[in-house]
């Protein structure tokens, strides 16, 4: 009679072929230089060519900093490789710097054997000063012998687009396409995707034609100056066999939006998405607002408390309420989430974690809200906590969260983060969603109705839409009598209801797939991760295995409740390492629940782990174990 979700279709693929090689390119320049756009063109060109790719956009904290300042530098990094590219790469192999400020802020990241491309045309005295350079680094010997190309991109671009009469400013806007052209040459890719995109975006206009001209000129520059292709730099990897299907690239925020839309479609419910703007969560609000779907309403509330409450009101009304925020906004929702727990209504809470505490570093990433998700409400107020592992996994996670919320009449928190929300990867389009395939049945039968009677399987109470004749009843945040739901101060009843709320959430574990370890059977070291640390761990482990270091990997998607077999699984390892972008949170949970001496590998810099950091940590421990 109640909604059933076919879990199995929703798990992310178990097997991956992580790329451990590939090439990392970073574009960096002023916010106005079209850096993000250029990055996307390179990404698409790579993806269309059958490569794996992972991206990392990096916006300045300021909205629009004055041109040429170091704090106004915008960057976009991508890694292209064979197979599943799980991380955007530790250090760029190629850095394309559009001006002195971007050189200054990015040069230290460049791989020692990397290639630096700078637009020498921008290295004027004035812009050098703005960037804080005393001497021109291209002249001074300050680049430490890094391989450097210094085309005057400014000049070349102006020449290339002269005929389209765009004026100085308009011409300079095409610089990024010149650089894209050159980079495509370096990457041994052709310009067809970029051409296609320019045509689509600008049509046959002077701006469009100028961009095309710049693109081709950049590519031609590589060809005519006989620059060597960068495949020389790549570790040789076998070409990857992609599963057949149709692909696109996707960010975490996009995938969450699609997942919520898919949940609406499948369940036949309207989604009422309630949020208050905040970085980095706002992107999801924007994505859903832009979708213009009849069954996904977005509501910008007056604050995060209002947003959480409106979502609860929507769920009470028979829609699926979803609320989304980051950092301070999530803290503000604590009281409202307690109400959702107490009245047992479905609710999805998306937390796009950012670096804290307090306002912290709004544009930077962190995984430091896990313990808050588990324990951050007064009283015993359990809820379900899930975390997606990659941008594309956000799609399935959103659908799964909606399903659990509805099936168990409980709030479900999704722990995404700033990194996963903005990084992108290729995504095989999912099977078409069948409208109403998981349609929810509301209770309508007055016979024997009790608002807090429980379904024996799910321990959930029935969902009743106000408007249903004969089922009029009252609910609230005061303790309720088991069954009837009337206000009760009875001591035994409080124990019963408290236990029931805990059991109901624990019950979710029954339908979960068992936790599984990836890696050699005989490993005595196991790396346990959650959320966005998945990719970097999987890639690091692939490296380790290639070099003979034995270690297994357990990645947890379900953080509360945990998979039922997890304790047994962990018990089979001598040493457990838990890398987290926080000061050690999951590790506390594992130690508490399973009394295993799991070790924390914390990192709190506002950045994801680097692959080499993890490799180092794993190798050090693998040695001592074996």
């Amino acid at each position: 009679m109640r909604f059933r979700l076919r879990e199995t279709t929703l798990q992310p693929p178990a097997n991956l072929t992580p790329s451990t090689g590939g090439i990392v390119v970073r574009f960096a320049g002023d916010s106005g230089d079209g850096i993000q756009l250029s990055g996307m063109r390179l990404t698409m060109a790579a993806a269309l060519g059958g490569k794996g790719v992972s991206t990392l956009p990096d916006f300045p904290a300021e909205i629009r900093a004055p041109a040429g300042t170091t704090y106004g530098v915008s960057a976009f990094q991508l890694r292209v490789g064979e197979g599943e590219v799980l991380t955007p790469g530790d250090t760029p192999d190629v850095l394309v710097a559009f001006n002195p400020a971007s050189l200054k802020t990015n040069i230290s990241d460049l791989d020692r054997n990397g290639l630096l491309v700078v637009d020498s045309g921008t290295f004027t005295a004035r812009s050098l000063k703005k960037a804080g350079y005393d001497d021109n680094p291209l002249e001074a010997d300050s680049l430490n012998g890094v391989r450097t190309l210094t085309p005057d991109i400014t000049r070349h671009t102006i020449d290339a687009v002269k005929e389209f009469d765009l004026g100085q400013k308009g011409s300079l806007r095409c610089r990024n396409m010149w650089a894209v052209g050159l980079t495509l040459w370096l990457l041994d890719r052709d310009t067809s995707e970029a051409e296609h995109w320019i045509r689509n975006r600008f049509g046959d206009t002077p701006v469009g034609n100028a961009n095309l001209a710049a693109l081709k000129a950049g590519h031609a520059y590589g060809e005519t100056t006989e620059l060597p292709g960068l495949d020389l730099l790549q570790t040789r990897e076998a070409p990857h066999d992609w599963a057949p299907g149709e692909y696109r690239t996707i960010t975490g925020a996009e995938a969450l939006a699609f997942g919520l839309a898919a949940a609406a479609e499948r369940t036949g419910l309207d989604i009422v998405f309630c949020a208050y703007p905040i970085t980095p969560a706002s992107t999801l609000l924007h994505q859903l607002s832009a979708m213009r779907r009849r069954n996904v309403l977005t509501f910008q509330a007056e604050d995060e408390i209002g947003a959480a409450c409106a979502a609860i009101g929507a769920s009470y009304g028979g829609a699926l309420g979803v609320t989304s925020s980051s950092g301070p906004g999530i803290s503000l929702k604590a009281e409202a989430l307690g109400l959702a727990v107490a009245v047992e209504l479905p609710l999805v809470v998306v937390n796009s974690q950012r670096a804290g505490p307090s306002t912290g570093m709004p544009t930077k990433t962190e995984q430091a809200d896990l313990l808050q998700a588990l324990y951050g409400r007064h009283g015993e107020a359990p809820l379900v906590v899930l975390a997606p592992r990659s941008p594309s996994d956000c799609y399935t996670t959103a659908i799964e969260a909606a399903g659990i919320a509805i099936r168990h009449m409980t709030p479900v928190m999704i722990l995404s983060d700033a990194f996963i929300a903005s990084t992108s990867e290729p995504w095989r389009l999912p099977e078409p969603v069948i409208s109403g395939s998981e349609a929810v049945e509301f209770r309508t039968d007055p016979e024997g109705f009790e608002p807090f009677a429980r379904d024996p399987d799910t321990l959930a109470r029935a969902w009743v839409k106000p408007g249903t004749p004969g089922l009029e009843h009252r609910i609230g945040g005061l303790e309720k009598s088991a069954g009837s739901g009337g206000i009760s101060y009875d001591p035994d009843n409080h124990q019963i209801m408290n236990d029931a709320r805990i059991a109901k959430v624990a019950q979710v574990a029954c339908a979960l797939p068992p936790a599984a370890a990836e890696g050699p059977e005989d490993a005595s070291l196991c790396v346990v991760t959650w959320g966005s640390t998945f990719g970097v761990a999987r890639e690091a482990l692939a490296h380790c295995r290639a070099t003979g270091t034995v270690a297994a990997h357990i990645h947890l998607r379900h953080l509360h409740p945990l998979p039922a077999n997890l304790g047994d699984l962990l018990a089979s390892y001598r040493r457990i390492l838990v890398p987290e972008v926080n000061s050690g949170q999951l590790v506390r949970v594992l130690r508490d629940r399973f009394l295993v001496d799991a070790e924390s590998l914390p990192k709190v810099t506002g950045k994801p782990f680097r692959v080499d950091e993890l490799i180092g940590a794993i190798e050090a421990r693998a040695k001592t174990v074996s």
């Binding site: 269309l48 059958g50 995707e193 296609h196 057949p244 299907g245 149709e246 692909y247 696109r248 690239t249 699609f258 839309a261 309207d270 009422v272 309630c274 213009r292 779907r293 009849r294 069954n295 309403l297 509501f299 509330a301 007056e302 604050d303 209002g306 409450c309 409106a310 979502a311 609860i312 009101g313 929507a314 769920s315 009470y316 009304g317 028979g318 829609a319 309420g321 009281e335 409202a336 109400l339 009245v343 389009l429 999912p430 078409p432 969603v433 839409k465 106000p466 408007g467 249903t468 004969g470 089922l471 009029e472 009843h473 009252r474 609910i475 609230g476 945040g477 005061l478 009337g486 206000i487």
Partner: protein, 334 residues
């Protein structure tokens, strides 16, 4: 119109009413039940949403759907509820603490958005449920457990706040004037948008008699003016007093009307569509001016959930599979 098929009793939930004996809330509950009967409201389509406080217990006593939520947040919850289902007839119940202290921000936004609902704010100038501390509407100098030397700070005028917040329907009622209150509640119900109704309510335990100055039977006629759109603003035992505009002071003045006073036609006529007049009426205070009761302001405007739904309906609704393809895709063949 047919005679109503339901009577006030049909709206009793049967749950024992647990306010203090003699509390003004009883009268208001009765007025609500009678109004529902008069409207022949469908209990299954009616929802009472409340915050926390003595006032906020009201939903438990009504045989409709009810949601007793958290302190100050009923407006936000009701907004989500109406977005999910605009067809529901939603009433909000709040107190001076719930609505004007912790919940004032949400109230402002409910009012300016103009969600279609009725909001009843029970004003007893006290926090009843938490044992009598002063509230944002308590007058300066109110002695309570948290203000033993008297409260400090100007009180909020509930109706002035609502008008300043852009409310499109603002009215006032009194727990001792149930017939008028019912009429006001009916008008509130008829209004398409947020109908804000302040109800002066006597808390017999912590603030007994705080409104006695103008609710005592002996002075009620002199000290209350029941305003009606299009009617002259007259009051007093024989309607022998009236309000005029003091043009120089830009203020209202109470005068005697007729023989020994100003001529009848000088008395202001109530225009409920004039926010400036409503603001002057809302802020009248004794001893020289009577308390204004009834519908002070009503001006229709776009209704929030209707506007939102209209936008959504206008939208194209692409199949999800098309939506996914609004960017470049590529194919890998088997």
């Amino acid at each position: 119109m047919n005679a109503p098929v339901r009577v006030a009793r049909d709206y009793e939930s049967g749950q024992e009413v647990r306010w203090c004996p003699g509390c003004g809330d009883y009268a208001i509950l009765r007025a609500v039940q009678k109004t529902l009967a008069e409207l022949d409201a469908d209990p299954s389509n009616t929802v009472f949403v409340s915050g926390i406080g003595c006032a906020a217990r009201l939903p438990y006593y009504l045989a409709t759907y009810g949601f007793h939520t958290i302190h100050g947040r009923a407006p936000a919850i009701a907004t989500g509820l109406k977005l999910a289902n605009p067809e529901l007839d939603v009433w909000l119940v709040t107190g001076d603490g719930d609505g004007l202290s912790i919940g004032a921000g949400h109230l402002l936004h409910l009012l300016r958005r103009n969600l279609n609902c009725q909001l009843l704010l029970f004003n007893n100038e006290a926090y009843g449920l938490t044992k009598g501390q002063y509230s944002p509407t308590s007058r300066i100098g109110t002695v309570t457990p948290s203000s033993p030397a008297g409260s400090v700070g100007d009180p909020v005028s509930a109706c002035r706040f609502a008008l300043g917040s852009g409310a499109r329907f603002v009215a006032r009622g009194i727990d001792t004037r149930i017939a008028e209150l019912q009429a006001t509640l009916s008008a509130a119900h008829a209004f398409p948008g947020t109908a804000f109704v302040e109800i002066l309510q006597n808390c017999i335990v912590y603030n007994d008699g705080v409104f006695a100055d103008f609710t005592e039977r002996s002075v009620a006629a002199e000290r209350q003016i029941h305003v009606v759109h299009g009617e002259p603003l007259r009051f007093g035992p024989d309607l022998n007093r009236g309000l005029i505009l003091d043009r120089d002071a830009f203020a209202l003045r109470a005068v005697s009307v007729g023989a020994d006073g100003v001529p009848e036609q000088e008395v202001l006529v109530h225009d409920q569509t004039n926010r400036a007049l409503a603001t002057l009426l809302a802020t009248m205070e004794g001893p020289d001016l009577p308390l204004a009761v009834g519908v002070l302001f009503a001006e229709e405007g776009p209704v929030f959930e209707v506007a939102v739904r209209d936008q959504v309906e206008e939208r194209g609704h692409l199949p999800l599979s098309d939506l996914l393809r609004r960017t470049s895709t590529w194919k890998v063949s088997p």
